[in-house]
């Protein structure tokens, strides 16, 4: 059973690899990709801790609403664990 997660809706400035169109949206973990260095630290030449990276699948309806181009189409994006909340 794929785990449901929500992308945090915070909107900090700076180098963040969580697209704004996914903030606050709910999806399913499609797979865990493994540990990767946090780009938010690498971008500023800081020591970067490894974080679990997840591929998360969202429906178009979840992101754009019932009026989405094709609500059952999906988007997969890779999100770092500190951006995800378990539901």
């Amino acid at each position: 059973m794929a785990e449901r997660v929500r992308v945090k809706s915070m909107m900090p400035p700076g180098h963040v690899r969580t697209p704004t169109y996914l903030r606050g949206k709910t999806g399913l973990i499609e797979r865990e990709l493994g540990p990767y260095a946090n780009p938010e630290k690498l971008a500023y030449a800081l020591e970067a801790e490894k974080q679990s990276l997840y591929r998360v699948r969202f429906t178009m309806e979840e992101i754009w609403g019932a009026g989405a181009e094709n609500p059952a189409d999906t988007i997969d994006a890779e999100i770092y664990e500190h951006w995800l909340e378990k539901i």
């Binding site: 690899r17 990767y36 094709n70 189409d73 999906t74 988007i75 997969d76």
Partner: protein, 211 residues
């Protein structure tokens, strides 16, 4: 009087291109300055720069097409490709460096489309440099909200009962679409199948040529 540069090579061994006759821009001055400073300080050599250009020039969609054609004729290779596309590419002799490649398969039920909304991430170590359109604001913003309209502009109409899966390359993975083998190709060998695989079919904005 026009000057014929065709028989005159630059220091890196590359022929002059037309652009070399254009007025020198600020950013071109910067590129020359940065390159020279880094060479003079011993961090890189001119030979390394020339070699890297050659390495990148050798990378092209033909490499991806070879991988796709192999997957079409060899089910075991296809399984390995879907399991670990980096390893499968290396198995075919391609030097892809540290590329984390994932192959996503088009089926009768699912069509895949690759985009990088945040910048323009692309599996360049296998396919070479991305097409200009892939890097445009138009493609990057519309591929995640109206992908079917975008595909229509590329001449591809997807059936409504097919699911379109868009992959936004937000992190370390890079994606290549494994397009569906066209109908009517049963008798064709790998070398012939390679000719059917287009760059756009490996991004998802197209399908392979028909035989």
């Amino acid at each position: 009087m026009p000057h014929d540069h065709h028989d005159h090579l630059s220091a890196s061994g590359h022929p002059f291109r037309e652009d070399n006759d254009a007025p020198l821009s600020y950013w071109q001055r910067m590129e020359i300055a940065v390159r020279e400073l880094m060479i003079e300080k011993g961090h890189i050599t001119a030979e390394e720069v020339a070699r890297q250009i050659d390495v990148m020039d050798a990378r092209s969609p033909a490499n991806g097409a070879a991988v796709v054609a192999r997957a079409w004729v060899d089910p075991d290779f296809k399984a390995r490709l879907l399991q670990d596309a980096s390893e499968a590419s290396r198995e075919m002799g391609f030097d892809i460096g540290p590329l984390n490649l994932i192959a996503v398969e088009n089926t009768v039920e699912v069509h895949n489309l690759i985009v990088c909304t945040l910048c323009s991430c692309y599996p360049r170590n296998l396919l070479g440099l991305p097409p200009d359109w892939y890097k445009t604001r138009a493609y990057r913003s519309r591929a995640v909200i109206e992908p079917r309209a975008v595909l229509r502009e590329f001449g591809l109409e997807l059936p409504e009962d097919m699911r379109l899966c868009v992959h936004d390359s937000t992190a370390d993975m890079r994606y290549i679409v494994l397009p569906a083998r066209p109908a009517g190709t049963d008798g064709m060998d790998e070398a012939a199948l390679v000719q059917l695989v287009t760059r756009d079919s490996m991004i998802g904005t197209g399908i392979p040529r028909q035989p």
